[in-house]
């Protein structure tokens, strides 16, 4: 299960660089669903075995890759058992250059590899984090960070898409993720996040009550607690009949969080600081709690060791 915190109200944070995000469970034969989320692209197995150009055409047609524009830092993340491998292609149509990135999840052979060198692309790190899946299998989150500075060609674009034959395991967040937010001048006022300085965001103060929504996807950490409190008066008559006047309800939830990436940690912390009104609901969009984050201190403030860009903490969400 995945939990989302959706922001409402007339004070809307939105990302400057609004990619078409992909999310959805990446497994063999699945189609990918386009939603707002933090993921750039999910993964699925491909069948095309022809040239790089054919790969490109195929993935465009099947919408399972994503364009990166200008300089990007992103990371690939997936969950594997000890035998899986994850590979992605980087392709720049202007220069017709393709670059293959491999991520082996087997802890004993973990590495990042590339078939051919590609200028201005650097990748580093293969990290792993044990994780127990929903079906109670011990798996690993393996991830690496790739930094692209591809600027050649007129389009200044790079396309990243999954490579043929590589599969992933049962992990809802597997895919290509943005690690940091890129800012492009869209004529808007920028506000840099004051807590971590991790990414500039833009504030648009619209007049409409619901301009849009911004979601923070939180990993399925066990232990979320929902609480509800009725505000009511009870009276007991002389014969024992009870009269109950329910004046209102107040819902709350305590949600422990782990492995929250920088973007979402920043977002959640900014929600907390601005006392934004949030809706907390599950994947089925069933609203569970409407509230604000009422932690006395910053909700996500502790590094998720040994990861340097993951955070852990807990949020207390209470009705307003």
């Amino acid at each position: 299960m995945r939990w989302l915190a959706k922001q409402y109200q007339n004070h809307i944070w939105s990302r400057v660089d609004d990619f078409g995000y992909w999310t959805g469970r990446a497994s063999l034969g699945n189609s990918l669903l386009l939603q707002n989320g933090r993921r750039l692209a999910g993964i699925r197995q491909t069948t095309d075995t022809s040239s790089y150009a054919d790969y490109f055409t195929y993935h465009i047609a099947n919408s399972c890759g994503v364009w990166l524009t200008g300089e990007q830092t992103f990371f690939m993340e997936f969950a594997v058992d000890n035998s899986s491998t994850f590979a992605m292609n980087l392709y720049n149509p202007a220069s017709n250059i393709s670059h293959e990135l491999y991520l082996y999840a087997n802890p004993t052979t973990k590495k990042v590899n590339s078939y051919t060198a590609l200028a201005n692309v650097s990748s580093y790190g293969v990290f792993e984090t044990p994780y127990r899946s929903a079906n109670d299998q011990q798996i690993y989150i393996a991830w690496m960070t790739v930094n692209t500075q591809i600027a050649e060609g007129t389009q200044r674009q790079t396309y990243i898409y999954p490579q043929y034959g590589q599969t992933t395991s049962d992990a809802p967040w597997a895919g290509i993720h943005v690690g940091h937010v890129q800012v492009r001048d869209g004529g808007l006022d920028f506000t840099t996040d004051p807590i971590y300085g991790l990414g500039p965001w833009v504030v648009t103060s619209g007049a409409a009550a619901l301009v849009g929504s911004l979601e923070a996807v939180m990993l399925p950490t066990p232990g979320a607690t929902l609480k509800g409190q009725r505000h009511e008066s009870k009276h007991e008559s002389q014969s024992g009949k009870q009269y109950r006047y329910t004046w209102g309800h107040r819902d709350s939830a305590t949600i422990p969080l782990a492995f929250v990436n920088c973007r979402d940690a920043t977002l959640i912390n900014s929600f907390w600081k601005a006392e934004e009104k949030l809706v907390y609901f599950d994947d089925e969009n069933t609203i569970v709690v409407s509230g604000t984050i009422t932690n006395r201190t910053l909700p996500l403030s502790v590094h998720q060791k040994p990861l340097l860009d993951r955070w852990k903490g807990s949020i207390d969400l209470e009705g307003y």
């Binding site: 008066s233 008559s237 002389q238 014969s239 109950r244 006047y245």
Partner: protein
Amino acid sequence: MTYAVTSWFIAQAQTQHPPIKRVFTIGGSDYSRYVKRWPSVSVKWDDLRSISATISLENDEQTFNFFRTDKVNMRKATALKLGFTHPTSGDELINVHLGTVDKATYNGGDCTISMTDKFRLFAQRVVGKSDAPAVFSIASQLPSDIAWTLVTCYGGMDATQSSANTDLDWQTFQSWAATFSNDSVYVQARFEGQKVAECLRKISRYTRSAITQQNDKLAFYRFTLASTAVTALSNDQLLGLSVSVDDTDMTNRQWVYGDYRAESGYWAINVFDQSTASINSFAVRESVEKDESIWYVNSANALNLAQRVISTAGLPYDRVNIQVPLMPLHHVIGETIAIDEPQTGIAQSWRIMKHKLDMESGRMDLEVDASQLVGGFYLDVSTLDGPDLLL
């Protein structure tokens, strides 16, 4: 005049878990979500004074600082409403209190607002002066005529003589005035600087009438027949009940003085009525109605008052205090509560004489008694051709 509510509203008030709703507005804007503690509002049948309500509000977001920054905001209309939410037609609420803000106190993140109704003016305006008294000396003057002058001329309320009057319940006033007019009850009065509220209280007491606020209007009653608006309460509804029989409530010989001559301080009329049976049992308990502010001008009217007192207070009467959930929410002063309580053996219908509504807990405290009830009636049923006889 009872609240104009639907039968659905009354049915909801009887249920154990109704879709209840309470609302607090200032200038028409809803501030219900800021209320930390809802007030109690009480009213009594013979003690006219402005009804106040004090409400505790959350001010962490400085929502209510507008009273400080612009004091004129204190004159905005406030409203406390209570009722039920209909599943399709929306809220049906009654006005528990309407008024304006007379005091706002800020303490940390809290704001406490005290509100009074518009009849506060009655406590701020005087009628006559000691060296220039307001004299009502016309010989054929009804108590209602004097009350009208006090309310409109001295109290500054609406003088519209129709149901469009915004400050006075015209229907009850008409009925009240007709009671005096039919019996040719004439009074004279002389006020030397009392507040309007005090003058009206004197009329209320001297005529054994209720002058009270209902739904932001002044209502007038002289209780005669039992009210047909009845809510029956038994152990299933009563949260608590206490009954007292107080010997000091009793009067078995009532003196009424009248036709006062202010120049000489002389009372030309002096009548009394008594209950011989009561005197034989309890000995003489005398009371004197002798008021230099208002008096009857003929002995028949004075005697009528004496008889009225003796008919209700000739014996100590039951004074019942009940605590109850919101079943009688739609009732006002003077309406009837039928009580069936085996422990005290009470199975009677009496008028509501004091009414207190706690909006915080949804509880009402009522004082009901027989002090002003005349001619309680019972409906009986007979089966055609049956052996029973109607009395």
